[in-house]
Amino acid sequence: MNCKEATKLMDGYLDGELDPITSQTIEQHLRECHNCDQAYKTHGSLIRAIGNATPYFKAPAALRERIQSSLRQEIAKEPVRNVEDSPSLFSARPRWTRTVSFGTPWSGLALAAAIVFAAIITFNLMSRLQRPGNDQFLATQLIASHARSLMANHLTDVASSDQHTVKPWLDTKLDFAPPVVDLSSEGFPLIGGRLDYLDNRPVAALVYERRKHFINLFVWPASSDAATAPKTITRQGYQLLHWADSDFNYWAVSDVNANDLQTFKQQFETRTPHH
């Protein structure tokens, strides 16, 4: 190694950033070349002195507070990141409102389409009875209510297999007195009762069990002309069975099979006093 090469590598050597072989070569040269050795020593001392004397501008204490508060503002400003698919806090409206109205930039087009769609449906519905649509909507509510009761660990408000416990409890909470019977001997033990809200009114939900499956029987007063033929709906794996007597509407919802639900209805009807 000559002096020119050694000078070129001097800073790397000083900083200990050369590979071991190159370092050894430089050391060898410095042992042999007095000039380079002197230059290296002078350079090294000077650089160290300069490094020590260079002011280090530490952050003022206020900067830390300023940064921390701006980070918190950042979080508050953007509470949700990477989750554009998540509904906003205020979209807890029923989903159809969002879909039809202002959910997307296509809202104008969607609204127009919805109006046309609405006209067609309205026309079709007018030619029929109004009831099927209502039943479908109600069925959705019923299934949701049934599923929720099993999901949310809120099957019953009053857990009792004693109809004389469940009925008085419901009577005090509702503005009507639903019939409550225990059907244990028929294979449908009463588990309890619950308050629910369906079809824009508070309703009684009676909970029965059938071989580890649950049946929610929703009961509310029948409107005067509502007596209709029994009706079954199957949707999303759930069986819905509707019947009515002169006083009450009944909707039984369960995942038991249709025959079981029919049996349940018959047993329930037999055991409730007829008017």
Binding site: M10, D11, G12, D15, E17, T42, S45, L46, A49, I50, G51, N52, A53, T54, P55, Y56, F57, K58, A59, P60, L63, R64, R66, I67, Q68, S70, L71, R72, E74, I75, P79, V80, V83, S86, P87, L89, S91, A92, R93, P94, R95, W96, T99, V100, F117, A118, I121, T122, L125, Q130, G133, N134, Q136, F137, A139, T140, I143, A144, R148, Q236
Partner: protein, 210 residues
């Protein structure tokens, strides 16, 4: 006929979750979880990055040569760093943060003070006289912090940058290459040139004093 229309539409699009209560509950819960996750992320970020605030401030202060700008840049850099903290998987938080501080500083320099990026050497550096300063005097005077600072401030920004990263932060050539975004092979030569100019600059100021 509004009711049946609504009813029918609802039937088509609603599912079990569309009960307002459940959606609201789920949304609230999700938000709580997100808030908690963000709090955890912020705590983790602060734990990793706040210890390097002095380094961040020092670099910005040297690059910008202005305290007010330096603080603005450090704050901005911390915000940027937090936003991209998800992409930080390394162990070298200081180098990562300093890269952001460096880039943020250059953005400001380009925007407000383009002249700083093209600054040439002060005339005095090229003035004669510094050759007469002996190495012993140079060494003695280079312990003077004010003098070193004045000399450093005369250097172009890329020299100030590399000198701060090496002399004050003690970073390796590889780390410096990452932060200054230059090939590792050029770190040594740039550092050598920066040191050479700094020595000239110091000598020039000492020579001028005489």
């Amino acid at each position: 006929m509004a009711a049946p229309l609504k009813a029918d539409y609802a039937f088509d699009t609603e599912d079990l979750e569309s009960s307002a209560k459940i959606v609201k509950f789920a949304v609230l819960k999700k938000h709580q979880e997100q808030d908690a996750a963000q709090e955890r992320e912020l705590a983790s970020f602060e734990e990793t990055m706040l210890p390097h605030m002095d380094a961040a401030h020092n670099l910005a202060r040297w690059l910008l040569r202005n305290e007010e700008d330096a603080q603005d840049v450090v704050q901005e850099a911390y915000l940027r760093a937090f936003k991209s903290f998800g992409g930080f998987h390394g162990s070298n938080g200081r180098a990562w943060l300093l890269t952001i501080v460096r880039n943020t500083s250059y953005t400001l320099l380009k925007k407000n003070r383009a002249v700083d990026l093209t600054t040439t050497f002060d005339e005095e550096i090229h003035a004669s006289g510094h050759e007469s300063v002996s190495p012993a005097t140079l060494l003695e005077r280079s312990e003077d912090a004010d003098l070193v600072r004045e000399a450093m401030d005369k250097l172009p920004v890329d020299f100030r940058e590399i000198l701060v990263l090496r002399h004050l932060e003690g970073l390796s050539y590889n780390e410096i290459a990452d932060i200054a975004q230059i090939p590792p092979g050029t770190v040594m030569s740039r550092l050598a040139r920066a040191r050479g100019k700094l020595k000239e600059c110091l000598a020039a100021r000492i020579g001028k004093e005489k």
